[in-house]
């Protein structure tokens, strides 16, 4: 014979016994003393606008480069500037100078955190 489910619903579901489900620490519940450098390496797309202008010019002139001198030089200058800046930034990072501030990169952050590690 079927018992109407409304009867059970009114009483509600009994809470689970906590002893039956002991807490498992799957990952350590404290932060690591390091950060990974993955986020710093990616997502630096440069010169998109210049590239768009160049493509428009090339398409208009049937891919003959001599009609797009201005666009080409702009695009190349932009990329060169970008690479130079990147190179300089890398150089300063590798020198190991840590300036206090909010935009620290991963190497600087790791250096800081090594000095003040999480107490075990």
């Amino acid at each position: 014979m079927r018992v109407p489910s409304a009867l059970f619903a009114a009483r509600g579901r009994a809470p689970q016994n906590e002893a039956d489900v002991p807490f498992q620490e799957i990952l350590p519940l404290r932060l690591k003393n390091t950060v990974s450098g993955k986020a710093d390496s990616g997502n630096d797309v440069a010169c998109l606008q210049e590239m768009g202008v160049l493509f428009a010019c090339l398409k208009d002139n049937e891919f003959v480069e001599k009609y797009c001198h201005k666009e080409i030089s702009q695009f190349q200058n932009c990329f060169k500037c970008y690479m130079d800046r990147k190179f300089e930034a890398k150089k300063t990072i590798n020198q190991g100078i840590v300036q206090p501030g909010n935009n620290l990169n991963y190497k600087q952050l790791n250096k800081y955190m090594r000095r003040y590690p999480n107490p075990l």
């Binding site: 390496s41 797309v45 768009g52 090339l58 398409k59 480069e65 190991g96």
Partner: protein, 219 residues
């Protein structure tokens, strides 16, 4: 002074610097050309007490030395046989010179002066004409490989141009010699025609049609 500051930086660094078989950073580049030495006299005077790298053994101050030619020889070389590569390139230059001279002699009137018979400038012109502005790299996003257009450095563009010229030259019948085909390709490219220039244009076209993916790149 800069040398001292560099020393200070090195000693203050946390990690010790690995010694490798490369020159340390404070070594200056050598200046081989005599006229450049005279030009940069005041700058070079500052280097009196700075160690200088040894010049590479093929560096030369003759009028026959040319960086494009040197690079081309390096790219032609197979299994370290650069003597053969050098002879192949000089044969190529000879063939270019011969064809252009023949053209010049056949031409009439003002056209005679317009024909360039300098094989070296023709080679440089050919390389310049073949240099791509961009290239495509495959980037995987969401399980799909996208051909993403990315800008390239000047150095790589020169490399690609010479590589393409050489690839076009090597794609030939067995009876044709490499200098013959290479001379042909160089002459074609110098005049803005031929397979290599077409290859560059095709690459640009591909970049243009894939421009929507340009923001996928990580540069």
């Amino acid at each position: 002074m800069s040398f001292l500051s560099r020393l200070a930086v090195k000693s203050s660094g946390f990690s010790c610097i690995r010694r490798m078989s490369v020159y340390p950073q404070h070594y200056a580049e050598p200046v081989v050309q005599k006229n450049k030495q005279i030009e940069q006299k005041s700058e070079l005077a500052k280097l009196h007490h700075v160690p200088i790298k040894a010049a590479v053994n093929k560096a030369s101050d003759t009028v026959f030395h040319d960086d494009t030619k040197e690079k081309m020889v390096n790219y032609i070389t197979k299994k370290g046989n650069s003597a053969l590569a050098r002879s192949l390139l000089s044969k190529t230059m000879e063939l270019i010179k011969r064809t252009q001279t023949e053209h010049m002699n056949l031409a009439k009137g003002d056209d005679k002066d317009k024909i360039n018979t300098n094989a070296e400038t023709l080679l440089k012109q050919a390389v310049e004409n073949c240099r791509p502005l961009l290239q495509v790299t495959a980037i995987k996003r969401g399980g799909v490989n996208y051909q993403v257009p990315v800008p390239i450095t000047t150095k790589r563009s020169y490399f690609l141009a010479m590589k393409w010229l050489l690839e076009a030259a090597r794609e030939k019948e067995r009876k044709v010699s490499l200098p013959e085909k290479l001379a042909w390709e160089i002459l074609d490219a110098a005049h803005g025609q031929g397979r290599v220039v077409k290859r560059k244009d095709d690459l640009h076209r591909q970049c243009e049609s894939n421009r929507a993916y340009a923001h996928y790149r990580w540069s």
